[in-house]
């Protein structure tokens, strides 16, 4: 019974191209970051407005739910479906930093007083920066390991 693997290794590599494509990773990260940023922006605008009619409240609620749904979808993709390798995590973390900073600036410009928005935005920014530091640390550790292993003579 000398069977050959089916699918072959090359066929398997081809089948893995979908989850490994850069587009699938970009889509997952953008859905997560844009969903969170949108939810923060809409939430801040909604909370800063007073005496809104019922329909406007409904519109804000729907918009917020829409943004949260995208954030949840992006979160599910990032944690369950799409592999984020060390370099991808660094890029994703910096995307989150930029999105947090931009959302905070926007929200602070549109709301009065800006202090609560700045506090919430600052927390998001701090979390994004923490993720960026962790991603860089992990990537640096892997690079060190890689260089060490490359210098080590191959076992017989």
């Amino acid at each position: 019974m000398d069977e050959e693997p089916r699918p072959t290794a090359q066929e398997m590599i081809d089948r893995l191209a979908g989850p490994l494509s850069p587009w699938s990773r970009v889509r997952a990260v953008v859905a997560l970051v844009a969903g969170l940023a949108g939810a923060a922006f809409v939430g801040a605008l909604w909370s800063s407005e007073e005496a809104l009619p019922g329909r406007t409240h409904l519109a804000f609620a729907l918009f917020l739910a829409f943004c949260l749904a995208w954030a949840a979808y992006g979160g599910w993709l990032v944690t369950r479906r799409v592999p984020l390798f060390a370099t991808d995590r660094v890029i994703a973390a910096w995307l989150a930093v930029v999105a947090s900073a931009a959302t905070t600036a926007l929200v602070a410009a549109f709301t009065t007083p800006p202090l609560p928005a700045l506090a919430v935005g600052g927390a998001f920014l701090a979390a994004a920066l923490l993720l960026a530091v962790r991603a860089h640390t992990r990537r640096a550790a892997l690079l060190r390991r890689k260089h060490l292993l490359e210098r080590r003579p191959a076992p017989d």
Binding site: E3, P5, R6, A9, M12, R15, P83, F85, A86, L142
Partner: protein, 171 residues
């Protein structure tokens, strides 16, 4: 290039390293699933295993322990498939031949494979991991989530059962 270096490079996001890892380990992963399942299911489950490996690889903390981790993923996928189809992995699957062809049974190797296929899942699994995949007892224990002593006792029982089975088929 060592497996550990390939894994580290793949974890950094190098597609070529990941492809090389698949090329290097795919035959062994397929052999394991094929010895545990019939041909049709083995092919499906092998793909599921590689998807799980690719998704889980960024979180693997010890690249040097890739082999036991890979077979832990493979074992989980095989067990899920058996559980899905039989409710319980142990009993009905134990009697289910994973491979069997009357023509092949004419040669020793085929008898061995058929004998292997007739073993209970738990014994077949340690035999495949230890002899075909050449994992150590400690690695088998890690993959199966059991103490090394249990691996040894299962190996003994598996050898006895296989020997009996081969004697029966030869005479």
């Amino acid at each position: 290039m060592t497996d550990e270096l390939l894994v580290v490079r793949a974890q950094l996001g190098e597609r070529a390293a990941l492809a090389e890892l698949v090329r290097r380990w795919h035959p062994r992963v397929w052999t394991y699933t094929r010895r545990m399942l019939d041909a049709g299911r083995a092919d499906d489950v092998t793909q599921e295993i590689w998807l799980a490996v690719v998704r889980g690889l960024p979180r693997l903390r010890e690249p040097g322990r890739f082999t036991p981790w890979l077979f832990t993923v493979a074992r989980r996928a095989v067990a899920d498939r058996l559980r899905e189809e039989y409710g319980r992995a142990e009993e009905p699957a134990a009697a289910e031949p994973a491979a069997g062809d009357p023509v092949e049974a004419m040669v020793d190797r085929a008898s061995l494979v058929a004998g292997l296929a007739a073993l209970p899942v738990a014994e077949r699994e340690v035999l495949v991991l230890f002899y075909l995949e050449e994992l150590t007892v400690e690695e088998c224990a890690q993959v199966c989530g059991i103490p090394p002593g249990t691996v040894k006792s299962r190996l003994n029982r598996a050898r006895r059962l296989l020997a009996r089975r081969l004697r029966e088929s030869h005479g």
